[in-house]
């Protein structure tokens, strides 16, 4: 593989590995925990580095995950007696851990690779230079790492799918059924900090948040079913990594930054065009409802005057503007709508209901008697004769 292809693979695999734990995190309303975790793991890395004197050690990962858990524990402790709310506790703890790490680095380790820039912002472009040969495959270390984490996260998700879904939606029920949601949550967070550590080597700590949160948030707009939600999240993750890659190459800019921006763009697209929850879909629904209401109003009006002495007068097109408060143009449009759907037909100068239109009017009157009665009481409608039954 060429370095460029390898980079694309790393980006896609990292995005996928982060998107999976992000799914349940969002459902638990703890998406910002990813932000806090990704900052806190720095402390663990620094401490492990001081103890071991090396940056290439599995203990670094262990230290990082431990500091992630320490953060969660501290937040829990602070908010326990209710004097500090959860958001404030989170906002206090992770800057503190991050600050301690920054101070340790800048006072005693200013010369090593762990400069705060690289950790915060990350640089994917160098990933292909660190390689590892295993099982006859010579691949970048980052790809091995992220691939392993992807498998781990996927395995965890599939193995505990039932337990995870239950405790995300109703952790009290999960607890009373004996599923131990707290333990499960701790495991989840441990995995999440592992993922953060591995990913921030590649994309930097701030953009880990993008990889974790964006796919889930976008998928939430696209589906209400849990399995579909995860499939969408995975799709968005891969797509944003590839679009981000193109953007980065095209503009000669940071790959990690471009991936985050691509995720934001995909979210915006979902916000506008999601089939059920999108902005466009909302506008169309509103328009359809407005037309449906207008059609119903017209046939009800005709139905009420059908066979009465006033029929000839009430059912002229010109009269509609007076009675239904429609402008001549609107009245024309709406009559056309009803003509199209075959609810009314012209009988000389006046409109008359077809059989279909009569049925529609009756149905509408059946469905809306309360609203109609209420509206008439408030004098919002003209004093029509009571609907015949």
């Amino acid at each position: 593989m060429s370095p460029a292809t390898e980079l694309q693979w790393i980006a896609a695999v990292a995005a996928l590995a982060c998107a999976l734990p992000g799914g349940f995190l969002l459902l638990r309303r703890q998406a910002l925990l990813s932000d806090a975790l990704s900052h806190s793991v720095l402390l663990g890395i620094v401490v492990a580095f001081f103890l071991l004197g090396s940056l290439d050690s599995p203990w670094l990962v262990a230290g990082a995950s431990l500091s992630g858990l320490l953060m969660v524990l501290l937040v829990d402790l602070l908010q326990r007696d209710g004097r500090i709310k959860e958001d404030a506790a989170l906002g206090l703890v992770f800057p503190l851990l991050f600050s301690v790490a920054v101070i340790l680095i800048s006072r005693w380790a200013g010369h090593i690779h762990l400069d705060t820039d690289a950790v915060l912002l990350g640089e994917l472009a160098f990933a292909p230079f660190r390689r590892l040969e295993w099982l006859g495959l010579d691949l970048p270390v980052a790809l091995w790492q992220m691939g392993g984490l992807l498998l781990l996260n996927l395995g965890f998700l599939l193995l505990f799918w039932k337990e995870l879904s239950l405790s995300a939606f109703d952790s009290l029920l999960a607890g009373s059924l004996g599923f131990r949601p707290a333990l499960l949550h701790t495991l989840e967070l441990g995995l999440l900090s592992l993922t953060c550590v591995a990913a921030f080597d590649a994309v930097g700590s701030v953009l880990v948040v993008a990889l974790i949160v964006t796919p889930a948030v976008t998928a939430r707009l696209l589906s209400d079913r849990l399995p579909a939600y995860f499939v969408w999240a995975a799709l968005v993750a891969v797509l944003s990594s590839q679009i981000g890659w193109r953007l980065a190459v095209g503009l000669d800019a940071s790959i990690a930054g471009s991936m985050a921006v691509a995720g934001g763009l995909l979210f915006t697209a979902a916000l506008l065009f999601s089939p059920r929850r999108g902005w466009v879909a909302g506008l169309r629904r509103e328009r359809a409802q407005r037309r449906q209401f207008a059609r119903r109003l017209l046939v009800i009006h005709l139905h009420n005057h059908e066979g009465t002495p006033q029929e000839a007068e009430e059912c002229r097109l010109a009269h509609l503007s007076e009675h239904l408060n429609w402008s001549a143009e609107t009245a024309r449009e709406r009559v056309d709508l009803c003509l199209e759907s075959g609810w009314v037909s012209w009988a000389g100068e006046r409109l008359s209901l077809t059989a279909e239109g009569r049925a529609a009017a009756r149905q509408a009157l059946e469905e809306l008697p309360l609203q109609l009665a209420g509206a008439r009481e408030e004098g919002l409608l003209c004093p029509w004769p009571a609907p015949r039954t």
Binding site: S34, L78, G91, S99, A210, T214, D252, G257
Partner: protein
């Protein structure tokens, strides 16, 4: 007392001012449970800083701060629009806005850095903050912001108090809740942007939260809490600033965060409103009284 040179005085005054304003305003941020807003705004400001630098080619505080404020405000408005229009909840939306905006800023930053005229050195001081780069004229801006915040709080005190405790009731009374909310957000953005240069993106949120949380442990009155938070913020700023001046390679932002966290811990322990020490003492006394009652009763 040690003789302070000009730079040291500027640094200390800057830290104190930003601590004062951040603390006072933070009272409302914390009470409205928007503690993570500071984090979001300060990350979202990055693209604005980069854009302002690219457009004006200067690193002067007003230009960059204006860009940062606009971008931060845009981020907050985007977040509140999405929150109103979709079923998504705050955590997800804030995370999304934070990371997308920051990613955009990062793209811009790397793009500018790869341009031939590399006069951009120092832009990244906004990421971590360095009070040593403060100039006397920056102080004027900070003092202006402090006055603005103090004036607005005094003028809209009643409205903001109700907004902090019962926004729904305020809306029912027909008060322009959205407008008031916007004013508070605007003030927060201004303070954060001015603080970025001193403490940086990652740590600015602490300066909003910590003094308010600490002050809350000492009083139940909103007025006192606001004043106390302002005072504690200034104290923390000065402590952190002095620390970073006294020790080599101790960055200002983290130093202030350490001081602020220490203060929170102290207040949690000693605070007159349920501090650990008092409740511990009370428990001991009750246990002793109970024992005596059993023995002599």
């Amino acid at each position: 007392m040690i003789q302070l040179d000009h730079m040291a005085r500027v640094v200390l005054a800057g830290c104190a001012l930003i601590g004062l304003t951040g603390g006072a305003l933070g009272t409302f941020v914390v009470l409205r449970r928007q503690s993570l807003v500071g984090d979001v705004v300060s990350h979202a400001a990055l693209p604005g800083i980069v854009l302002a630098f690219w457009l004006t080619g200067s690193r002067s505080t007003p230009a960059l701060a204006a860009g940062a404020a606009l971008a931060g405000l845009a981020g907050m408005l985007a977040a509140s629009w999405i929150l109103r229009r979709t079923l998504l909840r705050e955590d997800g939306v804030l995370g999304l806005v934070l990371s997308s905006f920051f990613g955009l800023g990062l793209m811009g930053l790397t793009w500018i850095q790869r341009q031939p005229d590399a006069a951009q050195a120092g832009l990244d001081r906004y990421l971590f903050g360095n009070a040593a780069t403060l100039l006397s004229q920056d102080l004027a801006w900070m003092a202006g912001a402090a006055l603005l915040v103090a004036g607005t709080l005094a003028l809209l005190w009643k409205e903001f108090s109700l907004l902090a405790f019962d926004a729904d009731f305020a809306a029912q009374l027909g008060w322009p809740v959205r407008g008031l909310d916007l004013i508070l957000t605007l003030l927060t953005v201004v303070v954060i942007v001015l603080g970025l240069q001193t403490v940086g993106v990652v740590l600015m949120s602490t300066l909003l939260i910590a003094p308010a949380v600490a002050a809350r442990q000492w009083t139940d009155r909103l007025g006192r809490m606001t004043l106390l938070a302002g005072g504690l913020g200034a104290l923390v700023g000065v402590l952190g600033g002095a620390g970073s001046l006294a020790f080599a390679r101790l960055p200002t932002g983290p130093a202030i965060v350490l001081a602020a966290s220490g203060l929170v811990l102290l207040s949690l322990g000693l605070g007159t409103r349920g501090g650990w020490m008092w409740s511990g003492l009370r428990r001991r006394r009750q246990r002793r009284e109970g024992r005596e009652a059993v023995l002599h009763g």
